[in-house]
Point group: C2
DNA sequence: CTGAAAGCGCTTACAG
DNA sequence: CTGAAAGCGCTTACAG
């Protein structure tokens, strides 16, 4: 650590009295090195604190052991969890990570980004930008021709032209809505995320399908669009209350908006959950400390991030063996889980089919 | 983008009918290229979509244009803001980023991390781990001998052996406490972060100094330690109320704990801010939507992250010119700002010296 | 303004 | 089990 002159494999070889490729063999744990040679070289390495130049190694091996990660919105819950999981799993599998953050999910600069990553010789790319509008359109034209494996994190509309791993967002809508109905709700409103987002549309779809399965009409009057922020959740509830004063439950598409709903309910004098049940999504750290503690839907984002790395490692190995991947890209969706707290009325029947019963009286604290 | 066979500078040179170093000159915007040669080469580059291999370039230049970033706790507010700012500024200045996340702020694996970064030939290292216990002790012994510039993000106790950029955390404590006193508070409690953290101790120091400046005793009865979580804020208020039932203001060392305080105050029937003023730190997105909206202290973390990159770039350039840096490492602290909302009683006098007046009646909504 | 040569620090066949 | 040669894809002096 203390050396100012860059130490090279040549220095180590000289000090150990062997050739450079013998040192190389030791560094790469090759079996064909005599025990005492091994000892000697290892000792020199230890004493000098030599560490091989990964750049040079990458150049000869044609493999950088670096993954390019493109992400958006680290200030938000989901992206930061995914990135953390990706980094952890990558480190565990011997990959370094080069991080590229974009300012807007709808970037027009895809070409530039991809070629920058290619120039850095990444072994694979993890594209952790949610699908917003047609910001994944590039994968249709360029997907098959990418020089390195690419994996998308997050689901998308239409046929995936690249392998993708995400959360089953329709299931999120189902879980939340099913739970609200089971608690006796009859008029379940929804505050969606921006509808240009695939995730938002899927959560809305889950809500709609669940209502229909219970023979309830998913009226447009019960739907309002938010933008993930607390404020939009608050405004959303005001709008819904104006349209349907008898609304008795809200599925907010994330916990921040759910917090806004609590806020608005408080201002309008609607007690939660007695008069209004509320479900959020994400299970942010604060959710269990909202007033009342928030029922929410957990997304296995850590699993998704880790799985993305495992999967891209597999694709990298495969590509290197057969020179090209012939798999049909598939979309893997992981299942969310409901976390029940006190912002929703308790389930009155275990059978979802019997969910439409009278509203229960105010729950105890 | 569509090429499966890696294109090299040699291919471009051949296609343009020039030598490789003429292509190199074009790639590096060297002035000494004939106009028509330039044209020809650029055209070939455009047509083929050639992008130079950064690994090879780094090897010859002895410079990777990559910054190693070591961070902790992306799930928290501060770290994610700093990382975002670092990435943005780095991208703007032509650096790539290799990200290393650690699981605990007190890592024993510093050597391993540093040598891994060194092996990747990073041009500089941004160490964005807060000082906890003696987790920066390594900088004393290794600081001066690091083969590349290192910059620490966050302040630290004692003399810095490496340049460091952070937030003036004592000023955070001063701002918060001064504001509480100006609102008429006489018994200001504090819920600190973990006291093994420099940040926590500095915020405590600011609180103490401010009370003393106002001739108020910073009694130990008014201090309780939290761990940044909502729960610890809640428990903290319970403890303080038991010890000092007449406490009339709380400085919580982050917004999450401040939320816990609101929660606990609600449960104990203490109205905020009429009976209890509360200030947090961070200005998280939810802060303005807590009930009541939270008065808090903003930290210029984005500036700190950006400044770290600017500064390390300067050090990198300097090191490359003079072969070594002879500057005395200095600690730069940026100033926080108070954001006043409704969780604190309004200021009753503009002169802080007159702050000790009667509590004001309940504030209007 | 342009090119032939050497080298960055490694690893990959190829001999022995 | 070990080493001499060639090469990964660039750039840096050095000539001209």
């Amino acid at each position: 650590m203390a050396h100012r002159t860059r130490l090279t494999i040549r220095d180590v070889a000289a000090a150990a009295g062997v050739s450079t490729q013998t040192v190389s063999r030791v560094l790469n744990n090759r079996p064909d090195v005599a025990p005492d040679t091994l000892q000697r070289v290892q000792q020199v390495i230890r004493e000098t604190g030599y560490a091989p130049n990964m750049l040079a190694r990458s150049l000869t091996q044609g493999r950088s052991h670096i993954l390019g990660v493109v992400a958006y919105g680290l200030e938000y819950f989901g992206p930061s969890r995914v990135l953390t999981a990706v980094e952890r799993q990558a480190a565990e599998m011997g990959y370094g990570i080069t991080l590229n953050l974009i300012l807007q999910p709808e970037t027009s600069d895809v070409d530039h980004l991809l070629s920058a990553l290619r120039a850095r010789q990444v072994d694979g790319i993890i594209w952790a930008i949610p699908e917003v509008s047609d910001n994944r359109a590039w994968s249709r034209t360029k997907g098959a021709e990418m020089p390195v494996p690419v994996i998308l994190v997050g689901g998308m509309a239409g046929k995936p032209y690249l392998p993708s791993i995400g959360i089953d967002n329709a299931a999120i809508g189902c879980l939340a809505t099913e739970h609200l109905l089971a608690g006796g709700a009859r008029k379940v409103g929804i505050i969606t995320g921006p509808l240009s987002w695939w995730e938002s549309r899927q959560r809305l779809l889950g809500w709609r399908q669940t209502l229909e399965a219970h023979n309830l009409a998913p009226s447009e009057m019960l739907v309002t669009e938010g933008d993930w922020t607390v404020t939009s959740g608050e405004q959303g509830l005001y709008r819904l209350l104006e349209r349907c004063p008898d609304i008795d439950a809200i599925f907010a598409s994330n916990d921040q908006m759910a917090l806004g709903v609590l806020h608005a309910a408080h201002r309008r004098g609607r007690s939660v959950p007695e008069q209004l049940s509320v479900v959020g999504v994400d299970n942010i750290a604060e959710a269990s400390h909202f007033w009342p503690p928030m029922t929410t839907v957990y997304q296995p984002l850590t699993d998704a991030g880790a799985l993305a790395v495992v999967e891209i490692d597999r694709l990298i190995s495969k590509t290197r063996q057969s020179r090209r991947s012939d798999e049909t890209p598939k979309m893997t969706l992981l299942e969310p889980e409901l976390i029940v707290r006190e912002s929703t009325r308790p389930v009155v029947s275990l059978d979802p089919a019997d969910a439409r019963v009278e509203p229960v009286p105010a729950a105890l604290d």
